[in-house]
Amino acid sequence: MSDQQITKRLLVLLIPFWRGILTAVVLGFLTIGSSMALMGTSAWLIAKAALHPSIAELNLAIVGVRFFGISRGVLRYMERLSSHQVTFRLLKDLRVWFYQQLEPLAPARLMGYHSGDLLVRIIHDIDTLQNFYLRVVAPPLVALSITLAMLIFTGWLSPILALVILFFLVLSGGILPIAAWLSGRKIGQIAVQARADLYIELLDGIQGMAELLAFGQAQSHFAKIQATNRGYIHHQRGLAQRSILQTVSSNFLVWLSIVVLLWVAIPRIDGIMLAPLALVTMACYEAFLPLGSAFQNLGSSIEAGRRLISLVDNNTPSDSPVQAVIVPSNLDISFENVVFRYGPDELPILNHFKLTVPQGMHLTISGPSGIGKSTLINLLVRFWDYQAGDIWLGGRSLREYSSETLRNLIAVVPQNPHLFNATIRENLLLARPTATEAQVMAAAKLTGLDGLIATLPEGLDTWVGELGFRLSAGERQRIAIARAVLKDASILVLDEATANLDRVSQQKILKMLQSEMKGRMVIFITHEVPKGDWLADDWLNIAAL
């Protein structure tokens, strides 16, 4: 997408906030206008006083100085407050918007993205847009209106002065910012990318630290981080150096313009107006000096915008649009010649797969790992869409159901369940927020968690740590199973759900599940040949799907 397109998309998001932007522009104009008026009247006051007039002639100017002195401060306060209010409201809305766009893409379309990268987008890229909304949108409009005011003031003194000041204002308000934008564009993009890379490497370094240390690669990963860090800071330096250059040359331009103005004005205007002219000119640059650095960072802002918009645009969700809620008449499931491949150039994982599971059946599916057993679940809950054939639920194609309905009907214990960095209770309640204490405890008891909970000083309210790492693998699996049971769904699917449990616990849990789920469908996926006390109604052993 071109920079113009991104800018347009970013501007469109502002439309609901146009009132706030307009207020900020008007206030900005009045603030700088007050500042110019303050400097102008006080300079005039001193100059007039030097001519020893009667004090009555100065009265109006004295009132003016007081008024503009106070209004400048108050207006600036109001301007800053209103522009920041609007911007931060917008950023908040953007975060929610981005999550809403992201949510339907998971997990299929987000597979290629590192979660650190997504995090950078939702937090920091959106934050980077601050510069765009605060410094790129309203300030040029303020500068434009100040230019008009300056033209009127200087034109009133002498038309040729208006031409001179127009030249300098176009230079510092137009040409310099554009030059700054062009010089910062490329490096700004690189810096935004470098920050995302650094983020991912740091996150890999922290979450993958055990592997890195154990394989002696911590130092080399550290070296990689050092290189990326230095690269990132190097690009930032490039930006900062350009911005320093931009600031000092703008400051120089201010004085240059004053010298040229005086040069032109001295033979032409009344001497009493020289001091006001010089000071008003100095004051008006407040509207122009910040433009340079704002446009300098435009490259970064646009790159951040691009990272947000492109992710959303390039991926169409696999979810079907929300459809009318259909309640299936029964819960028979059948796969009919289903063909599925993960990518267009990959071999099919499912090739004309057929399977019928009548309502209420307890079925074991076993087979070697990696042949696509988990894929069956991903298709059932419509995380992925199959390419040919059809899956039927209660006599209707799966595609007719909204994904929400399907996920209400089916409880899944995935191979790698995610535990949130919250308490055990909160992790369980995820499945059914309205569950009572008794229901939560019953589910916990079913998976043998009650013993663990009893030994913990804070019981159910014990913090599980990030990714549940404060618990053992077995404890995490028990929580994941309890969570699925608590959901109380009509269909329960377990994907290698007991692999990290010892044999005794595994058998205990399975036995309890069997009686708990009597009359409801259970699909138990395992790579092992089922044995022991797990008595499924049927057992499907597959060599290939």
């Binding site: 991912i200 055990a210 001091a275 996920r407 995610h418 960095n421």
Partner: protein
């Protein structure tokens, strides 16, 4: 806001740059005074002394000359500040990550990685304001007003007195507001960190949220958290804006007093226009450094909160005690002894390991079994030196493990973890982790040994196929096989298998068993497994429960004891 003193120590290695930044900043301030003086001279001569353009040409040229000089000086001052800031940011970020490595993966599970990364990245970044602006401006705030005062005194003592009397009001006022702003800034940084940590958790758990139809409900939480962040940010800004307003009104008030005073004297002919105009132009410059400092002060308050967090992390004592002069690594084969080893996790009263006493002889294959929560993983963490024993010690060929360099020790062992972390690169690169200098052929061999070849050949890009973060593209069994391949590639005298076969099917397990037997030949092995049939041939089996070793012996002798092992074994068969 209490400025973290530890920040000043960071300036020590770059003090020359710092002196350059401040002294050039002072020269810049003096040049501004020179510019103002020249300007008032020109206007005075033209306005009151009827000078023609020709007569003021040389001061006009002076103005350009001074402005040009100022361009260079200001550039020098800001570039020096930039240089020292970069130096500090690079050094702090690297030291911080290096320190996290010393804290080790187990103690970091207490932290949220989203928050840690935020501290490493944005926390360090937010110190930018501190070093580039706040600290240099602090000195300029003292030096420039003082210079202006000294220049104004001979010109007009009365105005000089007014200036010096009003000056202390500003910092006093700022301190009051600053105390309030500090707390708010602290909250803002925490709010950002919390937001990061929560978003990371949600993003990584998005699939689980969807499975439970809870992902839509997160919109509300995300809206609420983002709004909290907005509100705290606005609160910081409001304080900043309000203090800027107060400063501005105070400045305006002082200038108004001066203006009235000089205006009246001018009116009654007691003062010259030249001086009066100069004082009017220079008076705002007197207050400007104070206002600049006030503005950066608020910008830096988030940096202060970050600095607290950074230095607190840096001062947390490392879990893995670095050995300054490590004992040279004993030569393999290794004889490992656990001598009364206990381990307590912080905050848990019961020991995870309780007085362990056992040995692993060179070449011995030892297996550890027991119900979940028995302490098997803690045992592995101790052996990997991710944790150090609370009591007791581990000896390697008679040398305490704590006296060896952790790196050197870990180079002698290969580890297949319960939940291998797969990096977001290709399968090839993920295996290469075990030995970066391995040739592709060696890596293919290791993959073949782990039973990966058949699967990899089906992938469009073969060994170069990128695997998603945490191996999202791979099934549990495949991820474990990558971990196994790493172990094959590393080829070390000591092997640790932590539930290595939990996700593999029978057919594959049989394949790997054969390869494993080959690999285990002549090596010391510690296996942790649930499949009892995989450990039947172990030289010794330790049966653990609640942090203790309950039974030990061979498969047959343990079966004869009819204890815990017998119980586990009979349910298994």
């Amino acid at each position: 806001m209490k400025v973290d003193k530890r920040l000043f120590l960071e300036l020590r290695p770059v003090r020359l740059w710092f002196v350059a930044a401040v002294s050039l900043g002072l020269i810049n301030g003096l040049l501004v005074i020179g510019l103002a003086y020249t300007l008032t001279q020109i206007i005075d001569r033209v306005f009151l002394k009827d000078a023609a353009l020709d007569e003021v040409q040389s001061p006009l040229a002076w103005l350009i000359g001074l402005a040009g000089l100022r361009l260079i000086v200001q550039w020098g001052s800001e570039s020096s500040a930039l240089h020292l800031t970069e130096h500090i940011k690079i050094s702090l970020r690297e030291r911080l990550f290096g320190h996290l490595l010393e804290l080790g993966p187990v103690s970091l599970t207490q932290e949220r990685s989203g928050e840690l990364v935020n501290t490493l990245l944005e926390g360090v970044e937010s110190l930018d304001n501190y070093f580039r602006q706040l600290i240099p401006q602090f000195f300029l705030m003292l030096l420039i007003p003082l210079s202006i005062f000294l220049i104004v005194v001979p010109q007009d003592p009365l105005s000089a007195i007014i200036l010096i009397c009003t000056a202390p009001l500003l910092p006093l006022f700022m301190i009051l507001i600053g105390m309030w702003a500090g707390a708010v800034g602290q909250r803002q940084f925490k709010s950002l960190s919390y937001l990061s940590a929560h978003f990371l958790d949600v993003l990584q758990g998005l699939t689980t949220l969807k499975l439970f139809n809870r992902s839509q409900a997160q919109i509300k939480t995300i809206g609420r958290l983002s709004d909290d962040f907005r509100v705290t940010t606005m609160r910081v800004l409001r304080v900043a804006f309000l203090s800027a307003l107060a400063l501005e009104l105070l400045t305006t008030l002082s200038i108004a007093i001066i203006a009235v005073e000089i205006g009246l004297r001018l009116l009654y002919g007691k003062m010259e226009f030249e001086q009066a105009f100069f004082i009017l132009v220079i008076a705002p410059e007197f207050y400007q450094p104070l206002r600049n400092f006030g503005a950066s002060f608020h910008a830096a308050s988030a940096g202060n909160a970050a600095a607290n967090r950074i230095f607190d992390l840096l001062e947390t004592s490392p879990t893995i005690i670095d050995v300054p002069e490590p004992v040279p690594l004993p030569h393999p084969p290794f004889h490992i002894e656990f001598k009364g080893v206990s381990y307590f996790y912080p905050g848990r009263e019961q020991p995870a390991l309780n007085q362990l006493l056992f040995g692993i002889k060179p070449g011995q294959h030892i297996a550890i079994v027991g119900p979940s929560g028995a302490g098997k993983s803690t045992l592995v963490n101790l052996l990997l030196r991710f944790l150090e024993p609370t009591h007791g010690e581990i000896l390697v060929n008679g040398v305490p493990l704590t006296t060896l360099a952790p790196e050197a020790w870990r180079s002698q062992l290969a580890w297949v973890s319960q939940k291998p972390y797969l990096f977001n690169t290709s399968i090839l690169e993920n295996i290469r982790l075990a030995n970066p200098t391995a040739t592709p052929d060696e890596i293919f061999w290791a993959g073949e040994q782990a039973g990966l070849t058949e699967f990899v050949q089906q992938l469009p890009q073969g060994w170069q196929t990128p695997i998603g973060e945490r191996g999202t593209r791979l099934s549990g069994g495949q991820a474990q096989r990558v971990a196994l391949a790493r172990a094959f590639l590393k080829d070390t005298p000591l092997l640790i298998w932590d539930e290595a076969t939990a996700h593999l099917d029978m057919h594959l397990e049989a394949q790997i068993q054969t390869a494993m037997q080959r690999l285990m030949q002549g090596r010391t092995v510690m296996m942790i497994a649930h499949r009892l049939h995989t450990i039947q041939h172990a030289d010794e089996i330790l049966v653990m429960s609640e942090g203790r070793i309950m039974e030990s012996g061979t498969h047959d002798s343990l079966l004869n004891q009819q204890g815990l092992y017998y119980q586990l074994a009979t349910t298994d068969e």
